[in-house]
């Protein structure tokens, strides 16, 4: 079987791109990735995107972007798995390369959120959950996560400060990330006193609304070596789904899909948890990040927030996470987010990091979720 490798990446700064639409934003990131990979003959294109049909009222994005990029005739597909769309499209690309069917695949994600009113964006983001439940209760994603956060605080007797501290660390890591949406450090006091979205979750516990696109070019290792391209290997792929609604899960605070995806990805990579040098985790809300750290096994149950608070996961800590600011500070253009995480892991492993360097990083893990662990994708990247 062919070994899938990443040979180039491209990303846009995350923020409000008033002069760009969905496709032109995707074009910029894809173009950059293709140039870095020395413009190979692309065999297929996968575009991660969640909200295009809901906010931009544009579907069939694969063919649209392929045509704009000048790849007429190339198979192209939009992949949607809510917040995991970008990581999922890269996982699909890796599997296609592994199968031997394709030599070069362009994969990533794009999202355009700032054109729509926040209330419309929040409604569309609900689509990652069971809409019958959301529509019967008035719940939002922030609301679901708030229910989990309170449950966590009550069960383990944890102060909210220790959960929210993850946002402070994200902002700290984003200061030197040119592509991050928020590059300004924040204090815990500010994070704790921001407006409430869904009690106890406030603005700084939540990832922001933003536009962005990120793509990678994947190849088989053989082709990359033939062409003399520098590469990072995608050595493990894990994808899993969970019981859709949190109410029917044996334990709503345990992300079984993330756990399973991580085990499968490690097994495929022939690696163990202790080999992981850094993690890019899906902290759409601070509590989600904490629960992910526990579900992936890096913190014991009930100690995720405590470990964040004691800086186990800071850039200089035992296992650095979200080395460019995570979803909170780098940003969360939903369908592109997983692709940003993969680009960042690539940057870490190739040393293109500036101030954010994790020393001697050989293995990085990307964890991406659609909804509250409804679909989880884990990729193990190795230099």
């Amino acid at each position: 079987m062919a070994t899938p490798v990443i040979v180039g990446y491209g990303l846009t700064k995350i923020g409000e791109h008033w002069r760009k639409d969905l496709v032109s934003l995707g074009y910029d990131a894809a173009r950059e990735a293709l140039s870095k990979a020395k413009n190979p003959d692309i065999d297929a294109i996968y575009v991660g995107n969640m909200l295009g049909m809901a906010l931009d009222l544009q579907g069939n994005l694969g063919g649209y972007l392929a045509d704009e990029l000048g790849y007429r005739g190339v198979p192209a597909l939009r992949i949607e798995a809510s917040g995991a769309s970008g990581a999922y499209s890269i996982a699909e690309a890796a599997m296609a390369i592994k199968s031997g069917l394709y030599d070069f695949v362009l994969a990533g994600g794009v999202e355009k959120m700032s054109d729509s009113l926040p209330s419309e964006v929040y409604y569309a983001l609900n689509f990652s959950e069971d809409m019958y439940i959301m529509n019967s209760t008035g719940l939002t994603n922030a609301g679901l996560n708030a229910i989990l956060m309170r449950l966590y605080m009550e069960r383990y007797n944890v102060a909210k400060e220790k959960i929210t501290y993850l946002a402070v660390q994200d902002h700290e890591n984003a200061q030197y990330a040119p592509h991050a949406q928020f590059r300004r450090p924040i204090t815990l006091e500010l994070a704790m006193s921001s407006i409430t979205l869904a009690d106890p979750i406030n603005l700084f516990d939540a990832s922001p609304i933003g536009d962005g696109a990120a793509f990678v070019v994947m190849a088989s290792r053989e082709k990359a070596e033939d062409l003399g391209l520098d590469y990072v290997e995608v050595s493990g792929i894990g994808i899993s789904t969970n019981v859709y609604s949190i109410v029917e899960r044996d334990d709503p605070l345990w992300f079984t899909a993330s756990n399973k995806a991580f085990s499968s990805a490690l097994e495929m990579a022939g690696a163990s948890k202790d080999d992981v040098d850094f993690l890019e985790i899906h902290d759409e809300y601070t509590i989600m990040g904490v629960l992910a750290l526990e579900s992936l096994g890096f913190s014991s149950k009930g100690f995720g927030a405590e470990d964040v608070w004691s800086r186990k996961y800071s850039l200089k800590g035992e296992t650095p996470i979200n080395t460019f600011g995570g979803l909170k500070a780098r940003g969360n253009p939903v369908g592109a987010t997983g692709a940003y995480q993969v680009c960042e892991a690539f940057m870490q492993l190739t040393g293109e990091t500036g101030e954010n360097k994790v020393e001697n990083a050989k293995i990085g893990v990307v964890h991406s979720m659609g909804g509250v662990d409804n679909t989880s994708v884990v990729l193990v990247l190795r230099r």
């Binding site: 929040y122 529509n135 008035g138 229910i147 449950l151 869904a198 109410v247």
Partner: protein
Amino acid sequence: MTEISDWRKRIERYRFQGSECVKCGARYYPSRIKCIKCGSEEMRDVELPRRGRVVSYTVIYNPPKKFSKYAPYAVALIELVDGTRVLGQLTDVDFDKIRVGMEVEATFRKLYEYGEDGHIVYGTKFRPVVS
């Protein structure tokens, strides 16, 4: 959701009706086609017990568009007396009086209205049990 999907769900919403697995007794709200506990497809409609306790809750200040005019409102994860867990809005309660463990009961209420014609959706909310 469209008017027709609201019509399809009307009995479940009005009567607080879920589904019960004939084989293992697991109950679900909303209803399921297949039991995720034992895999059986033999399910029957069941009216759920109307009392339960708050396991966790939130107060929504930043609602989706459809619920804009109702905010702020409280939503809770509730464990019914038979152990079934459901999500529902809390009503007739001061937010600062909501507690984990608080006893609540199901009550028939308007959920929201929408569209140019003011289509009204009714269903089940939960209020504190007054002893």
